[in-house]
């Protein structure tokens, strides 16, 4: 360090230097485009797991973030044309799921219990005025959320682009990572 460059010689106190550094960091933070970008992977295809990626994506977009959701594996169910019938919940092996009457988990494998659980969850959500998956998808598209379907899983499941709701792009791991590396916020759901 040169003699003329020390904080003593330019008349700055340590406190002043700390304040300047803090302000500069805050400024850099607000300028950093990565703070305004969110990338989310939706990998699960049940009704309960369809909610978190869509709720977070619509909220991120509403706070002005450029938002991408990458639908892979069973997560493709969420953007399938038949998402209404494909997204279900199952009480089987799910001891966390509330049941109207206490029942052993073994009972949950009886035919009809799965559809019953799905209907019950939907009607409960409806009663509480939780947005439907259809509403969240419409909101996401309206807010400009980029919905990207995993091409590889599409091939595996035998899905064609026409099998998906409108406005869904196709992409792969490299495309997702290219967005995710520019975003501070990346979630795997």
């Amino acid at each position: 360090m040169s003699e003329t460059g020390t904080i003593e010689t330019v008349g700055l106190t340590e406190e002043a230097v700390r304040r300047i550094v803090r302000e500069e960091l805050e400024r850099a933070q607000t300028r950093d485009p990565a703070t305004r970008k969110a990338t989310i992977i939706a990998s699960k295809g049940t009704l309960d797991f369809a909610y978190p990626p869509l709720i977070l994506a619509t909220t991120a977009a509403a706070t002005g973030m450029e938002t991408h959701v990458f639908f892979t594996f069973y997560g493709l169910n969420i953007v399938h044309r038949d998402f209404e019938s494909k997204l279900k919940v199952s009480p089987v092996g799910n001891p966390a799921m509330p049941t109207p009457v206490p029942m052993p988990n073994l009972v949950t494998v009886i035919p009809g219990m799965g559809p019953l659980a799905t209907v019950m969850m939907k009607s409960k959500f409806d009663r509480k005025h939780v947005a439907t998956i259809a509403e969240l998808l419409a909101t996401a598209r309206e807010l400009g959320v980029r919905l990207v379907a995993c091409q590889m899983t599409m091939e595996v499941f035998g899905y064609e682009p026409d099998d998906l709701i409108e406005g869904v792009e196709l992409g792969g791991a490299a495309a997702f990572l290219s967005e995710a590396r520019r975003a501070h916020l990346t979630l795997f759901i």
Partner: protein, 80 residues
């Protein structure tokens, strides 16, 4: 002096994320400096609305609870 709003968003009965999503849409229709009044019954909005306002560069002027309804006044910030 009471705050006067330029627009009211009735988000009563809605749950997360809709109050904030709708607030984002509504405030975009206002000019910087104008005030959006938000009515919500979602208890989560107490945490969500202030966080949303801060992250979007808008200013939460005041909020209170009135007979189970949360009332927020948010002033639209300047364009960045």
């Amino acid at each position: 002096m009471p705050i006067t709003e330029d627009k009211v968003l009735d988000a009563r009965g809605l749950l997360c994320p809709m109050p904030v999503v709708k607030a984002g849409k509504e405030i975009a229709t206002l000019e910087p400096g104008q005030v959006l009044k938000i009515l919500a019954t979602d208890r989560g909005s107490v945490a969500d609305v202030p966080a949303w306002a801060e992250d979007t560069g808008n200013e939460l002027l005041e909020w209170h609870e009135e007979d189970g309804v949360f009332v927020y006044y948010v002033r639209r910030g300047e364009e960045e």
